[in-house]
């Protein structure tokens, strides 16, 4: 809009200065956003293990939960310092609901649900994945400190959603 008629000198001066600052601001905004994007992407690549992956899909929503690995609910050793954990969410508990894993080992969680959506959050870590019936999701995590961690359901699943809590006990490295 270049219609200068009717602009007082104060208006005209303010307008001109505003346009200058406007370009400055937009440039600043774009630079900031590019840097933020690069920053978060770097972080992701750097710590790639936290990406939620997909192991399998099934037509029958309960099929994954019936597989032997999920039925056993054991912590499976898969390498010198790596373990797999198979976890099923059901209203309103996790199975298994107490597990022991060693400090410093790479743990792969395989997570599914046998009924509705649940949220697999390990409190105090960035592990956070939706448990979907019929889908097995995966996420890897290495606990750097021994201690008690809690799996808290963070996707609404009905009346006792708030009580759907399980425990992970991270044993200090070196204990058998």
């Amino acid at each position: 809009m270049d219609n200068k008629t009717g602009m007082s000198p104060f208006d005209a001066a303010f307008h001109a200065s505003a346009e200058r600052h406007e370009r400055f601001w937009i440039f600043g905004v774009l630079v900031m956003l590019v840097l933020l994007t690069i920053g978060t992407m770097f972080y992701v690549v750097h710590d790639y293990g936290l990406v939620t992956g997909t192991q399998s899909y099934a037509t029958d929503p309960q099929a994954p939960a019936r597989e032997a690995a999920f039925q056993d609910g054991k912590v499976v050793r898969t390498g010198p310092n790596s373990y797999a954990v198979y976890m099923v969410g059901r209203a309103w508990h996790w199975a298994p609901d107490v597990i022991h894993v060693p400090e410093g080992a790479e743990i792969t969680f395989y997570v599914t649900s046998a009924d509705v959506l649940h949220g697999f959050e390990i409190q105090g870590t960035p592990v956070n994945m939706t448990a979907v019936p019929g889908v097995v999701g995966t996420v890897k995590y290495t606990f750097r400190h021994a201690g008690l961690f809690r799996i808290i359901c963070n996707e609404y699943c009905g009346m006792f959603h708030h009580a759907m809590v399980a425990r992970i006990i991270v044993d200090p490295a070196g204990t058998p």
């Binding site: 809009m1 270049d2 219609n3 200068k4 008629t5 009717g6 104060f10 208006d11 303010f14 307008h15 505003a18 346009e19 600052h21 406007e22 601001w25 905004v29 774009l30 956003l33 994007t37 978060t40 972080y43 992701v44 710590d47 936290l50 990406v51 939620t52 992956g53 997909t54 899909y57 099934a58 037509t59 029958d60 929503p61 209203a91 009924d115 509705v116 959506l117 949220g119 959050e121 409190q123 960035p126 956070n128 994945m129 939706t130 979907v132 019936p133 019929g134 889908v135 097995v136 999701g137 808290i152 963070n154 996707e155 609404y156 699943c157 009905g158 009346m159 959603h161 708030h162 809590v165």
Partner: protein, 579 residues
């Protein structure tokens, strides 16, 4: 103004005194009252939820009315998030353009819009009141509510898109009489908002009409959880813009006049709205960063897109900030911050909007956290998320709508606000309460406190073992909630008090802002404005169908790769009723 004389020459023009204008005012008032009545219900329940997080369980005492926390939370989310915002928006985005253009809207269609949404809202209320549908406002299947719930939501969503044809028709009428002119700003912003929403609505409409409606009626046995979740967020992300853009309409289109100044840049407002529309649709799946089934490449693209969404809001911060500065300096404000103090703070409508804009700094910052993947993993589905959106929709939208009601109720009814002081008190308390509340919620989220959880019903020891570390932020949540109670009830006293008992006075006009170099009025019978030598960019942006086309293509390009694998691995999940 000599509208009355001109009204004789242009058949479609409305004058203040004729019966069409009176019908418009009545209908607008109906939208406003219905919307705020929904907020009355929602805002009554909200503080109970805040107390819950503070460890205080009031739900046993509410038993005859509410069976559980989750029933209350469903009502809170639906009433505030859908019913309140939809009614106010569908009123405003027809009324304001009609006034700006001086053209009558199609009243039958506008009444239909009201009726469809009202029937929808009653169905949903019924389904929530009998606890048959405590599925929360996101209603993720395979949780299964009653047919009244899904059909009610379907009607609400359908009705909320009906202003679109009304706007298109008004704009066409106006343009026929004023060939070659650019669509006036408020009409442009309203139209872009409704076009965006019409497109976005396709997701949830498909989810409801193809899946959840027939499923709840027993016509189909199973649904696919992840496909439906994805369709929900196709609409569920743009809905946050449907909450935000009406507030921006007021900030760009009215606020500069209310503070006694001008809008610094009309083009910037248009660019902002065009960008919001284009970016709103393709990024919906950033709500699903934590879901299995999305490729890492896609997640990376989403981060970039999501960051881009921040651009229009940052531009808004600049343009609105500068318009306020201009007014403040005209009013004699000096120095770095003098202009801010010099704003007309005694006007509750101004105070509410400026304070809303201040809370949006927090809202924007927390939004950037949500958008950035790795940080998202930490905060996903914790109280951080409701912390974020209460300083967006819970402040920006709610406070701006409150601000609008402060001039609009007098404008529509010819009754003065019963108390300017009480109105000011309510918005300041809302501002302080919401800030404390949101800081508490966001901070507690960093301790992994889950959202949507009846934590106060846990045994005392368990609550402390799980969330004791977050006791300070959770106490802030409860304190903020109590303040918000005071704020909202004060507001409702002013709102309903004015409607019933306000003293009769001359109704104030709609405070349309003038932009730098722009004309004072755009009504159909105002002098032609050929000197509006708009830049090529602004002329291009006036081709709203081009923008719609680009947005559609972007959305299709974004969603085909996402939905493709899901549609090839369909899960047939039966429904569950677990509350």
């Amino acid at each position: 103004m000599n509208i009355e004389i001109a009204a004789n020459t242009i058949p479609s023009a409305v004058s203040e005194s004729d019966s069409t204008a009176a019908s418009m005012r009545r209908l607008m008032l109906a939208f406003l009252i219905t919307g705020f009545s929904a907020l009355l219900i929602g805002a009554t329940i909200g503080p109970f939820q805040a107390l819950n997080y503070g460890g205080v369980d009031v739900y046993p005492a509410l038993r005859p009315l509410l069976q559980s926390y989750y029933q209350g939370l469903t009502i809170h989310g639906v009433m505030n998030g859908y019913v309140f915002t939809f009614f106010v928006t569908c009123g405003l985005l027809v009324y304001l353009p009609a006034r700006e253009l001086g053209v009558a809207p199609n009243l039958t269609m506008w009444r239909t819009c009201f009726a469809v949404m009202a029937i929808g809202a009653l169905c949903v209320l019924y389904a929530m009141a009998d606890n048959s549908s405590s599925v929360l406002w996101t209603f993720y299947p395979p949780l299964k509510g009653s047919p009244f719930f899904y059909i009610g939501i379907t009607l609400l969503a359908l009705g909320s898109t009906m202003p679109l044809p009304i706007l298109l028709k008004m704009r066409a009428t106006w343009r026929r009489h004023r060939p070659g002119e650019i669509t006036p700003l408020v009409t442009y912003m309203s139209l872009i908002t409704m076009l965006m929403w019409g497109l976005a609505g396709v997701g949830v409409m498909a989810e409801l009409v193809l899946q959840l409606d027939p499923w709840s009626l027993g016509l189909i046995g199973t649904v696919d959880p992840i496909v439906n979740r994805t369709l929900f967020w196709l609409t569920g992300h743009p809905i946050v813009y449907f909450w935000l853009m009406p507030a921006y309409v007021s900030w760009y289109g009215l606020l500069s006049r209310q503070v006694g100044g001008k809008l610094i840049s009309d083009p910037m407002a248009r660019i902002t709205f065009a960008l919001l529309m284009i970016f709103a649709l393709p990024v919906g799946t950033h709500h699903q960063f934590s879901d299995p089934g999305f490729s890492s490449i896609w997640r990376g693209i989403l981060v970039v897109l999501t960051m881009s969404v921040a651009t229009p809001s940052l531009v808004t911060a600049f343009t609105i900030g500068l318009s306020l500065e201009y007014a403040g300096r005209l009013r004699g404000g000096q120095g770095w911050f003098g202009w801010f103090r010099a704003l007309p703070w005694g006007d509750p409508s101004v105070a509410a909007q400026v304070l809303a804009a201040v809370t949006f700094i927090l809202g924007g910052a927390t939004g950037i956290v949500n958008g950035s993947w790795q940080l998202n993993a930490i905060v996903h589905n914790t109280t951080f998320i409701p912390g974020h959106f209460h300083v967006t929709v819970g402040s920006v939208t709610a406070m701006t709508f409150m601000a609008i009601s402060f001039w609009m109720v007098p404008h529509l009814t010819g009754r003065q606000l019963i108390s300017r002081r009480l109105a000011l008190f309510s918005v300041w308390t809302w501002f302080v309460g919401m800030t404390i509340f949101a800081v508490g919620m966001s901070w507690a989220g960093l301790y992994g406190v889950p959202r949507r959880a009846w934590v106060s019903a846990l045994p005392h020891d368990t609550y402390h073992a799980l969330y004791g570390a977050a006791s300070v932020p959770l106490a802030l949540v409860a304190a903020g909630g109590v303040l918000l109670w005071v704020a909202s009830y004060t507001f409702f006293a002013v709102f309903f008090g004015t409607l019933l008992f306000g003293r009769r006075a001359a109704p104030p006009p709609v405070p349309f802002a003038q932009s730098f170099g722009g004309p004072a009025s755009f009504t159909i019978d105002s002098p032609p404005n050929p000197a509006q030598s708009a830049s090529p960019l602004i002329r291009a942006l006036d081709h709203v169908w081009l923008l719609t086309g680009i947005t559609t293509l972007a959305a299709i390009a974004a969603y085909i790769p996402i939905l493709w694998p899901f549609l090839h691995h369909v899960t047939r999940a039966p429904g569950w009723i677990l509350w």
